[in-house]
Amino acid sequence: MLQVISVLLENKPGALMRVTGLLTARGYNIESLTVARTLDPDLSRMSIVVDVEERLRSQVIKQMNKLVNVLQATDLTDCPAVCREMTLLRVRAPLEKRATIIKEAEIFGARVVDSSIDGFVIEATGDSEKLDEFLDVMQSYGDIDVTRSGAIAVSLELRKLRLQPPIHLAASLAEAEEEETNGVLNG
């Protein structure tokens, strides 16, 4: 069973690497990763699917929370959350099989988004296990090419976001400036 970590982070260059670096530095593989901006365009929401033992996972999440660019990292594995994934697949199928394929796709709630002489492009969403099943079925109709989005997840619990308020430099620099006038700089 894979686990999902949800990370709210600043939409800045390098932020993604800082988060994933904590996993890769320990030799963990990332099963899937999605990231896109949130309602606030300065922020991104990232969903990471991993296979990391619980104690280490909680350690890694603590370290993600320490990152300056990360506002909140949460383990959604054992929390009430909805987790979905999308797949796009291209099926090459002869004309006579097409009706059956469309019917089969409908059973899975999938829909055709493009059609040509060679075949279809079908879009399906669902939890990852259900998509696995769907892809198995589709494979029986011929050659398929698959792109999966990786899981995205949303927590059902309201989580309080603790943020650092602005820091006034005048106060934090007062001490340093005092030393300056004591002649260290001017001396």
Binding site: R18, V68, L185
Partner: protein, 574 residues
């Protein structure tokens, strides 16, 4: 206040505003505009002889003062040479800001001359890093960098600045505030947890304080002293925490760990309550983790939530600045004392008696010889001259352990060494940084013959600035610590550890224009050290010591800390 100037001048304005009085660096192609601006500025630039040493010197400066140390290097090789120093500061939580030049923005990614992906390379070597994209954001980034380096759990922050940013004109307006939404630091410990901790402390019969670098970083030495006295608790200080509680304090039970004292390791193994203050349960302290303080409940105070329960589950976790937490804890301890103290008093008396016995049974080994200088003899002599007041910067290896064991420190920020990373070549440049920070202080650089030879270029820096650093080379002709392990665990097959051709110290120092000498007779050691200390300028003293002396006590790798080897086994091959 707003005026037009180039990025290089803006950077200098920001450094001045942060109170930077001197910094360490080495110029190069892309930092030319910055060094040009520096030419007429009052901030002092110390020209080292290798960028790695610029970072070590900045670290030494920071360790000696608590202020942010600053270093500067050019792009490409300059920046990559900083890496070891950055990791050293990261491991030991030392506030350092590194400024690196980068190739012109439009050349980034084109494999330009002296280009390296500094931002990528140093991501995991720093607490945070930046690449500056516009001259307008430069002041904000510099002040953020200083704030991040010094606040919370301190650490190194790197700012990579492309050449065109140094050259670009911008309106400099002093920045009023910085906003780091995701940087949450908890400084005040949870009051309820602190109360529970106080209760647990009075209920304990065999409590131990395990204090580390966090005490030094937080400036919590007064609070720690107050705490151990009020709560009547013995304390060990880790390698990073030495000086956090004065070595002369009656409650101080020396250093624990792989080469810690018998008493410190036995006390940690026997305690029923471990009060962990600004420590990270490092493997060199705990030995086999499962056997570490096996009977103890754990109170763990640390400003970094990721340290709590990382290696050892805490019964009472307290996230906060250890100085503030101890202030609160000391108040509550006092309030609870009358009702709780009497119950555990007999147990406490027995515990103290036991600890004193351990101390008496096996103090640190300090052998002397008439024919050769024992390394422990050297450290004892330096201790005598220091009297707990000198700054002692060391390199890494046997000499570092003997110095930690045998030299006393009455105050924090006197003992300077690369604890976490264990970087050889650290001691001499760190001593340079410390001497710039504290020109009033007697500074010893105690180095091995291995590490010293990694630092020889900096003799020029010492000579050039006339720094009165006393360089004491503990010269056993070997990479001693590796040789010790080969002797004990690899059938004495001494592979690539002998360091021959050590230069003549008098000639070497003389070549740089200062004095040096070699001493090998134990009867001449004290006089030689005194002469070095009396010398108004720098001094290089090469001390030939017994080549085959080993550091004891020793906890073999993977062993429990109460399973110490106390002295050389009789069968040890020589």
């Amino acid at each position: 206040m707003s005026n037009l100037m180039n990025g290089a001048k803006i950077l200098l304005e920001c450094l001045a505003r942060e109170g930077v009085d001197c910094f360490f660096g080495y110029p190069g192609g892309v930092t030319l505009p910055f060094y040009d601006a520096l030419y007429e500025h009052s901030i002092k630039h110390v020209l080292v002889r290798h960028e790695e040493n610029a970072c070590f010197a900045a670290s030494g400066y920071a360790r000696a003062t608590g202020k942010v140390g600053v270093c500067c290097a050019t792009s490409g090789p300059g920046a990559t040479n900083l890496v070891t120093g950055l990791v050293d500061s990261l491991m030991d939580s030392i506030p350092v800001v590194a400024i690196t030049g980068q190739v012109t923005s439009k050349l980034i990614g084109s494999d330009a001359f002296q280009e390296a992906d500094t931002f990528g390379i140093t991501r995991s070597c720093t607490k945070h890093n930046y690449m500056v994209k516009t001259v307008a954001e430069l002041p904000q980034i510099i002040h953020e960098a200083f704030y991040l380096a010094a606040s919370g759990r301190p650490g190194p922050v790197l700012v990579d600045i492309p050449k065109d940013i140094f050259q670009a004109q911008g309106h400099y307006t002093p920045v009023d505030q910085i906003h780091l939404r995701g940087y949450r630091v908890t400084t005040d410990g949870h009051t309820g947890q602190i109360r529970r901790a106080a209760q647990m402390i009075w209920e304990s019969e065999r409590p131990m304080v395990y204090a580390g670098g966090g005490i030094i970083a937080a400036g919590a030495e007064t609070e720690l002293k107050d705490f151990v006295e009020r709560a009547d608790v013995p304390a060990v200080c880790t390698l990073m925490g030495l000086g956090g509680l004065s070595s002369n304090h009656p409650n101080f039970i020396s250093m624990p760990g792989m080469h810690g004292s018998y008493a410190a390791n036995m006390a940690l193994s026997g305690c029923d309550l471990l009060i962990a203050l600004g420590v990270r349960f490092d493997d060199r302290v705990t030995g086999r983790l499962a056997a570490f303080a096996p009977h103890a409940r754990v109170i763990h105070v640390d400003i970094d939530p990721a340290e709590i329960s990382k290696n050892r589950q805490a019964d009472i976790p307290i996230v906060g600045d250890v100085k503030r937490v101890l202030q609160k804890l000391n108040r509550v301890i006092g309030e609870l004392e009358p009702q709780l103290r009497t119950k555990t008093a007999p147990g406490r008396r027995a515990w103290w008696k036991q600890i004193r016995e351990w101390k008496d049974q096996h103090p640190y080994d300090s052998p002397r010889s008439d024919s050769e200088i024992k390394p422990q003899h050297l450290m004892a002599e330096i201790d005598r001259l220091s009297g707990g007041e000198a700054i002692v910067a060391t390199d890494v290896g046997q000499h570092q352990m003997w110095a930690a064991q045998l030299i006393r420190f009455n105050h924090p920020r006197l003992w300077i060494n690369s604890g976490g990373l264990g970087a050889m070549g650290f001691g001499l440049p760190a001593a340079i940084g410390a001497q710039f920070a504290r020109p009033d202080k007697l500074v010893f650089a105690i180095v091995g013959d291995g590490g010293f030879q990694m630092s020889i270029p900096e003799l020029a820096t010492i000579a050039s600035y006339g720094l009165p650093v006393k360089i004491i080379v503990m010269n056993n002709g070997y990479l001693g610590m590796v040789r010790q392990w080969q002797e004990l665990f690899y059938n004495n097959r001494l592979s690539s550890v002998q360091l021959d051709c050590f230069p003549d110290a008098e000639k070497l120092a003389g070549a740089y224009g200062f004095r040096g000498s070699t001493v090998e007779n134990p009867r001449e050691l004290a006089v030689a050290l005194e002469a070095a200390v009396r010398e108004p300028g720098p001094y290089l003293l090469n001390v030939r010591v017994t080549p085959f002396e080993n550091v004891y006590p020793m906890v073999p790798a993977g062993g429990a800390i109460n399973e110490m080897v106390l002295s050389a086994p009789l069968t040890a091959a020589k």
